[in-house]
Symmetry: C2
């Protein structure tokens, strides 16, 4: 039976491309592996796929006892419905480990680097499998996306080194291409409030609390906050439907590398403590904050756990 | 501050030696790492330490906010008291993942091989760090112990290949040395029932149930079961004290590669289903079963989850 490989819900560029790259890597190693996805392809990701002439993975709703390989995530609430009874053969990821378990031993590889693709790039080398130009382009796109063009504090020397290798193979300039790709994903005007909340949203269990953290990249924070009331209504509706204790929308300026947050929910107060701010009309500017993983989730987890 | 590295409670040979080997590897890489242990050194492990003239790691009772590297385990209930608030930098393991979580990204490496040492041996090569003869001896001892001299179904080609490399560096014959080491650990006559239950015992959460699985290696199964009443009293006492739903003692004949189990507790019935046997006086012979990880825990988990 074909093994399925996929990243998290609300897929971002690293998740979509890493599934494609993992399928390529495993296929080259003689396995039968298909890349699939758990949600819509973002404008940024579509830009990357078009650039390297690669089709998006097939959309699936759930898994049902298949053998699977997870990329770019491990927490079950971020994964496919039915993941609890799937047979997880392998995980390649760069996030904290939480709400993850298996009945049997598996291959699990996590490294504290900025991007799953940086680890996958190593795996090609370790297994002496050649990286094709379009695969290099996908991996480079993932690194640029996850590190916001190497500006995020999650970006490590290994990510930069991998990007330098990959831009040569892909035959493009990583800074020029990267800015175009980020801008393609940063257009917010044409999206509904609900769409904005779901571009890149993840749920986290923190202590006993369920926290939703959505992130939107933009080149104009004010343009997004001009629609604050509409966004608050959408957040309250999602919170009521899913029982979140806290919903934090992180709007990130990809040019200046700052974020303004909009926080609502029973545990709103946690935000003040976590970031040492005083929410004003449910918002606060977080200078220099661009990384949900490193600058938002651990801080909230500390306060709520 | 010195980073601590340790394996699981009721340490076996892989756990003790992998902590020592990880400390050696990290020290060679420029880190300040001390190997410690969470319990008594078994007769088998002491035989290996004496053979290669290496001291046992320091005994610790708990951790208290330190930076730690886990080897040969990940489940918190098998780890040091206080592990929930330690900063886990790295895990190298070959077990299923369960009841494990971190607040931040980390380096996690699990592979479905027979022994942690097989993965550590790769890491020396990847990092181009020389394996000293005594370190090779420790890794070889771990592989022999975990695979019962390559006879366990958990043993992979990678384990055998690693052992072949390591016996050359250590300058010993792996079969001759291995049988002597296993025999040194298989003496049961001089141990109390409580001692036997704690040579190599682990707790597992299976669904809502807490299951204790202890394993004893022997060259004479009948010698162990001559003390069945004494063992049952000790099991019942441990069960009452710790609230286990099921206690399974696996007595493994290392010469013939079979096991006889003694099972007690509220969920005793699960054993019949898991192994397709009918317990007779709380015991059953499991032909060809030698691996707790592969032939006992998944089968019980399936029935109880």
């Amino acid at each position: 039976m074909t093994i399925l490989t996929f990243g998290h819900q609300n897929p971002d560029t690293d998740t979509i491309t890493s599934a494609l790259v993992m399928a390529d890597l495993q296929t080259a190693a003689g396995k039968e592996v298909e890349a699939v996805r758990l949600g819509e392809v973002s404008a940024e990701t579509q830009y990357a796929l078009d650039k390297f002439n690669v089709s998006a993975p097939r959309l699936i709703e759930k898994v049902d006892g298949e053998e699977v390989i997870l990329v770019d995530h491990n927490e079950f609430q971020q994964s496919a419905p039915g993941i609890e009874s799937a047979h997880i053969l392998m995980v390649v990821d760069h996030h904290r480990i939480s709400n993850f378990e298996t009945a049997a031993p598996l291959y699990y590889r996590a490294e504290p680097v900025g991007c799953t693709a940086t680890i996958l790039n190593k795996m090609y080398k370790e297994n002496q499998i050649e990286v094709k130009p379009e695969i290099a382009g996908l991996m480079l796109s993932a690194i640029i996306s996850d590190t916001l063009l190497f500006k995020s504090p999650t970006c490590t020397d290994e990510d930069v080194k991998a990007a330098e290798e990959l831009e040569k193979i892909a035959g493009i300039n990583k800074e020029e291409y990267g800015l175009e790709m980020l801008k393609a994903g940063a257009s917010t005007a044409d999206k509904s409030a609900e769409d904005l909340l779901n571009i890149d949203a993840k749920s986290f269990s923190m202590g006993e609390k369920e926290v939703r953290v959505a992130q939107v990249n933009t080149v104009d924070i004010d343009e997004v906050f001009a629609r604050q009331e509409e966004l608050e209504n959408a957040i309250n509706a999602e919170t009521a439907q899913n029982g979140y204790d806290l919903f934090v929308l992180v709007v990130t300026d990809i040019i200046h590398s700052d974020s303004k947050i909009l926080a609502l929910g029973k545990e709103q107060e946690a935000v003040n403590k976590a970031f040492n701010v005083a929410l004003d009309k449910n918002t606060a500017l977080l200078k220099g904050v661009v990384s949900r993983k490193k600058q938002v989730v651990p801080q909230l987890t500390d306060v709520l756990s």
